[in-house]
C-alpha cells in the first residue's frame, strides 16, 4: 500500500493536487487530528535530538578537556568535561614536532589535489554508467563493484607502486585510490534520480555527452558532489599509512597525520612486546598528547564543514515545507 501511494506522489503530483481539492473537507478534519500528533512528534523529536547531541558531544568534549590537562595527572583518569590541572603543554609538545610544517603543507596539497581528482573521475565514471544507453553499462559497473571486495595485499601493492615509480613521490598520495566504487555508486544513484526529460531536452538542442555532463547533470549534483568531496577530503586529510609505507625515507613528503602518528605510536599499547617496552625505558606518549593531536586534526575540518553543509542543509530546509 505504502509504496503504491508513494508512487502516485512521485509520478504525478499534479493529479494529486486535484485529488486533494476534491477531498478538501476530509483534509481539514484530518489536519486537526494530525496537528496534535505533529506536536507530540515535534516534542519527541526535539528530545531525541537533544539526547543525541549530548551523547555524541560528550566524547569530543572529554577529549578536549584531556587535551588541556597535565599529562601525568591525566593518567589518573576521572577527567570528564573540565581539565583538572590546566596546561597548554600538550599542544606545545605536538606543535614542536619536527617536520610539522612540511607535513601540513603536503597534507593540504594532497587534500586539494586528491579531492579534485577524485571528485572529477568519480563523477565522470558515475555519469558514464548512469547513461542507460551505454553499451558496457553493466560490465563497467560490475568491474568497479568487484574492486570494493578484492585486495591483493600489502606486498604486491607495494611492488606495483615501486615499479610505477610512485614510491618516494607525491603522486602516490593522489593517483592510487582516486576512483572508489563506493563514491562512484553514491553519485550514480543520485544521477539516476535526475529526470530523463532534462537530458532529452538538451540532446534535442544538439548537446553532446560532455556538455550534458557539465551543463545539465553536474549543476544538479551539487549536494552529492559536496558529500563525496567531504568524504575524500577527510580521507586525504587523515591518511598517513601511505606516507609511512611509500615515503618513509623522504622527509619532504611527510604528511601531518604521519608526523602525529609517529609521535603517538612512540609507545602504544598495541602490538609491542615486553622486550621492546623494556628497552624503550619510559618513553611514553601520554593520553593527553594524543587528545591534543586529535583536536588539532579535527579543527580544520570543523572550520570547513559549515561551508559544505550549505549544500545539504539548504536542500533540507526546502524539504521540510512550512504548513
Amino acid at each position: 500500500m505504502d509504496t503504491a501511494n508513494a508512487k502516485i506522489y512521485h509520478n504525478d503530483s499534479a493529479i494529486l493536487g486535484k485529488k486533494g481539492d476534491l477531498k478538501n473537507k476530509t483534509v481539514a478534519k484530518r489536519r486537526k487530528k494530525t496537528s496534535i500528533g505533529d506536536k507530540i512528534f515535534t516534542v519527541c523529536n526535539t528530545i531525541f535530538m537533544i539526547l543525541f547531541v549530548l551523547i555524541t558531544l560528550y566524547p569530543v568534549l572529554n577529549t578536549l578537556a584531556i587535551s588541556f590537562n597535565d599529562g601525568t595527572d591525566a593518567l589518573r583518569g576521572g577527567i570528564y568535561l573540565i581539565p583538572r590541572k590546566f596546561t597548554l603543554k600538550n599542544y606545545v609538545t605536538v606543535m614542536q614536532k619536527d617536520n610539522l610544517i612540511t607535513g601540513a603543507y603536503i597534507t593540504v596539497l594532497r587534500t586539494l589535489i586528491g579531492t579534485f581528482l577524485s571528485l572529477a573521475t568519480n563523477a565522470i565514471l558515475a555519469y558514464i554508467v548512469s547513461r542507460k544507453e551505454f553499451i558496457f553499462r553493466k560490465q563497467l559497473s560490475l568491474f568497479w563493484v568487484v574492486t570494493m571486495y578484492v585486495n591483493g595485499g600489502l606486498i604486491p601493492t607495494f611492488l606495483l607502486y615501486k615499479n610505477l615509480h610512485l614510491t618516494n613521490s607525491f603522486w602516490v598520495y593522489v593517483i592510487p585510490g582516486t576512483i572508489s566504487a563506493f563514491n562512484m555508486l553514491v553519485i550514480r544513484t543520485y544521477m539516476n534520480g535526475i529526470s530523463e526529460s532534462l537530458t532529452e531536452a538538451a540532446q534535442l538542442d544538439g548537446a553532446g555527452y560532455t556538455t550534458i555532463f557539465l551543463k545539465v547533470i553536474s549543476p544538479l549534483c551539487k549536494p552529492v558532489y559536496a558529500t563525496i568531496a567531504l568524504f575524500v577530503a577527510v580521507y586525504q586529510w587523515n591518511s598517513w599509512f601511505d606516507a609511512m609505507l611509500y615515503n618513509r625515507m623522504s622527509d619532504n613528503l611527510t604528511t601531518l597525520q604521519y608526523e602525529l602518528m609517529k609521535l603517538l605510536s612512540s609507545v602504544t599499547n598495541q602490538g609491542t612486546s615486553a622486550e621492546a617496552m623494556k628497552n624503550a625505558m619510559g618513553t611514553v606518549t601520554p593520553t593527553s598528547v594524543r587528545a591534543a593531536a586529535t583536536i588539532i586534526t579535527m579543527l580544520p575540518i570543523i572550520c570547513i564543514y559549515p561551508f559544505l553543509q550549505n549544500y545539504f542543509v539548504a536542500g533540507l530546509t526546502l524539504g521540510g515545507v512550512k504548513e
Partner: protein, 574 residues
C-alpha cells in the same frame, strides 16, 4: 564559476608540478632529500654548509620509538666528533614482521636495521652483511662481547650478522633499579606492619589482607584496591608467569630450566602453579583481588595505580614506573606511602628467590645489523665503534656537562632537580638529547671507574631521586636500592634466557603452533580459574583445554634448544 574552477585547477597543477620536481630530485640520492623542498631548504642549507663533511646514514628499528628533531643538539655534537649522523625511523602502525616483509619485497634497506621480531626474515633474505671479518678492526665493537658471547650470535651459516644492544655490563654492575618483574607492595603497608619480613606468597597476601582490614580507605577516603592483576593482551604476564619465580627460578620467559638435570619443565602445570592460582582464587572470593582485574585495559590499570589505591600487584618495573610511578609522585602521594617496593616472594621460605639477575642478559634473537644496501660498511661500523667510546657514550646518556649534569669535586656525576625534569621532558628530549637508543650501549661503570654509564645506575643519582618514604622503607630493611630488597643472582647458565628462542618460534612448526595455542588457552582460562566458585573443577577444565594444545611439542623443542645451547657452550669451554 567556470573561470574560477579553471584557475583553481591551474594553480593546483602548478603547485603539484613543483612538488613533483622536488620529489623526483629527492629520490636520486639520499642526501638530496633534505634540500629539495622549498621551505625546509633555507634552514638545512645552512646546516649542510658547515657540516659538509658529515656522512648521513639511515636506520630503521622495527620497534616503537620516538624520533628526534633534525636539528637535535647532541646529535650535532656527535656528528662533529664522529663525522656521522644517522637518521632514525621507527615502527609506526605496523607489526615488525609486516614492516620487514615490505622492506624485503622492495629490496631496498636502510643502512642500519634492527628487525625486532622480523630479524630472522632479514637474515633469510640475505639482507644483512656478515660482520665477523670486520670485527677485529673495531676495538670497541670487538670488546663489546666476549668471544663466547659473539659465538652465541652466530647464525646457522656460521656468521655473525647482528649485535644485541642492551643489557651489557662493563666494569662493575651498579644496577640500582630492579627493572624487572616482582611482587610489589606500597610502602605504607610495610610501614603499618612495622617493616616485617615478607618472604612467601601466603605472608604477602596475609599482610595485604590485614592492612586492608585495618585501613580500608586512603587518607582522603578513597577505597583501597588490595590487589589487582593486569591482564591486557601481552601484558598478561602479570597473571601467568609467577609460578616460575615462586619456585625460585629466573625469568626464562617460557619455561623453567632445571640447572642440575638440564631439563626443561613446564611451569604451567607444577604444584606451585596450582597453589598460586588457588591462592588467587581464594583472595578473589574474599574480595582482595580487584574484580575488574581481567577486563581492565592497560590505561585503566595505570589510572588505578596512579590514584594510589592499589596496595600490591605483580608487574615489571618499566611497565608502571614511568607512568603510574610519576603520577603518584606528581600528586604527592608518595608522602602517603603509595610508592612501590619489590619483595622477595617465593612459594615457601626454603626457596631462594631469583627475581633479580645480575650480569646482564644477552638476547640473541635480535640486534643491530648493517644491511647490504649500505654502501659504506666500514664507515657504519666505525660509527658504532665511536658510539661505544666513553666520551661519546657519556654524551649520549648523560648529555652535556653543565647543561644536563654536573660534576662534583670528587668527579662524581650528578643532576640537579631541573636537569632531572628536563631529561624526562618529551620536547626537550626531541630537540636536545640523542641517545641513539637502538645502537649498542653499556651498562655498569664507565672507564673512569667511578661513574655509571647510565644515570639510572648511578647510586647517588638514584638515591637522590627516591621519595623519603621509600628511603625510609629501604633502610628499614637494611637496603640501599631496590636490588638490595631482592638480593641478586648470577645468570643461571649458558642457555639463559630461553625466551630468546621461544620468541622466534613461528607457526610453521608444531612447537610454534602449540606455543601460540597455549597462549590463547591461558588467556581465556586463567581468569576463569581465578574467578571460579569451584576452583578444582575450573582447574580441571583448564587443564583439559591446555593439554589439547599439545604442550609437549613445545617443551620438546625447548629441550632440544637447551641441549644445543649447553653443547655450544661446552665446545667453547674446551
Amino acid at each position: 564559476m567556470k573561470k574560477k574552477a579553471l584557475s583553481l585547477l591551474l594553480s593546483m597543477v602548478v603547485v603539484a608540478s613543483t612538488v613533483a620536481c622536488g620529489s623526483s630530485s629527492g629520490t636520486d640520492s639520499t642526501e638530496g632529500t633534505e634540500t629539495s623542498e622549498g621551505e625546509v631548504a633555507g634552514a638545512s642549507k645552512e646546516a649542510d654548509a658547515d657540516s659538509s663533511e658529515v656522512k648521513e646514514f639511515t636506520a630503521f628499528f622495527a620497534v616503537p620509538g620516538s624520533e628526534i628533531n633534525d636539528d637535535n643538539e647532541i646529535q650535532q655534537m656527535i656528528a662533529e666528533k664522529t663525522g656521522v649522523k644517522v637518521k632514525e625511523t621507527w615502527l609506526t602502525g605496523q607489526t615488525a614482521e609486516e614492516a620487514v616483509g615490505t622492506l624485503i619485497a622492495g629490496g631496498e634497506y636502510p643502512d642500519f636495521i634492527d628487525g625486532g621480531d622480523g630479524m630472522m626474515q632479514l637474515y633469510e633474505a640475505g639482507a644483512l652483511v656478515p660482520l665477523d671479518d670486520y670485527l677485529d678492526s673495531y676495538p670497541n665493537i670487538k670488546a663489546y662481547y666476549t668471544e663466547q658471547e659473539w659465538d652465541k650470535l652466530r647464525q646457522d651459516d656460521g656468521h655473525i650478522y647482528w649485535m644485541n644492544q642492551f643489557q651489557n655490563i662493563k666494569g662493575e654492575d651498579t644496577t640500582c633499579t630492579h627493572n624487572d618483574e616482582a611482587f610489589w607492595i606500597q610502602t605504607r603497608v610495610l610501614e603499618w606492619a612495622g617493616y616485617p619480613e615478607v618472604k612467601t606468597m601466603d605472608q604477602y597476601f596475609d599482610l595485604i589482607e590485614s592492612y586492608n582490614e585495618a585501613n580500608p580507605t586512603m587518607e582522603d577516603g578513597t577505597e583501597n584496591i588490595p590487589y589487582t592483576i593486569l591482564c591486557d593482551d601481552w601484558r598478561y604476564f602479570c597473571l601467568e608467569n609467577a609460578p616460575e619465580f615462586l619456585d625460585g627460578y629466573p625469568n626464562d620467559g617460557s619455561v623453567i630450566v632445571d640447572p642440575e638435570e638440564l631439563k626443561v619443565i613446564d611451569y604451567n602445570t607444577t604444584d606451585t602453579a596450582v597453589a598460586y592460582f588457588k591462592k588467587l582464587n581464594e583472595e578473589y572470593q574474599k574480595g582482595i583481588v580487584d574484580p575488574e582485574s581481567f577486563t581492565q585495559t592497560y590505561d585503566e590499570y595505570i589510572a588505578k595505580l596512579s590514584t594510589g589505591r592499589v596496595l600490591g600487584m605483580i608487574d615489571q618495573w618499566w611497565d608502571f614506573a614511568f607512568t603510574a610511578g610519576d603520577a603518584i609522585k606528581s600528586a604527592g602521594l608518595d608522602e602517603q606511602g603509595c610508592m612501590y617496593v619489590p619483595l622477595p616472594i617465593t612459594i615457601s621460605e626454603d626457596v631462594q628467590n631469583q627475581w633479580h639477575n645480575s650480569g646482564g642478559v644477552l638476547n640473541v634473537a635480535s640486534g643491530l645489523a648493517v644491511t647490504t644496501s649500505c654502501e659504506d660498511v666500514e664507515g657504519a661500523l666505525q660509527f658504532i665503534d665511536d658510539l661505544l667510546g666513553q666520551e661519546v657514550h657519556n654524551l649520549r646518556f648523560w648529555g652535556v656537562e653543565g647543561v644536563d649534569y654536573e660534576v662534583d669535586d670528587d668527579g662524581i656525576f650528578y643532576r640537579t632537580e631541573e636537569e632531572r625534569t628536563n631529561a624526562a621532558d618529551t620536547a626537550y628530549k626531541a630537540s636536545h638529547i640523542c641517545t641513539y637508543s637502538y645502537f649498542p650501549q653499556w651498562l655498569g661503570t664507565s672507564d673512569d671507574g667511578i661513574n655509571a654509564n647510565m644515570p639510572s645506575d648511578q647510586p647517588n643519582e638514584y638515591y637522590d631521586s627516591l621519595a623519603d618514604t621509600v628511603k625510609e622503607c629501604l633502610s628499614a630493611y637494611g637496603a640501599q636500592t631496590y636490588v638490595d630488597m631482592l638480593g641478586t643472582n648470577e645468570a643461571p647458565g649458558p642457555w639463559y634466557p630461553m625466551y630468546s628462542y621461544s620468541n622466534n618460534l613461528t607457526t610453521s612448526t608444531d612447537a610454534g603452533v602449540a606455543w601460540n595455542l597455549m597462549g590463547e588457552v591461558k588467556h581465556e582460562y586463567l581468569p576463569k580459574v581465578v574467578m571460579a566458585e569451584d576452583f578444582d573443577s575450573a582447574w580441571a577444565e583448564y587443564m583439559e583445554a591446555y593439554n589439547a594444545c599439545n604442550p609437549q611439542d613445545f617443551i620438546d623443542a625447548m629441550q632440544v634448544e637447551l641441549e644445543r645451547r649447553v653443547e655450544e657452550a661446552a665446545k667453547f669451554a674446551e
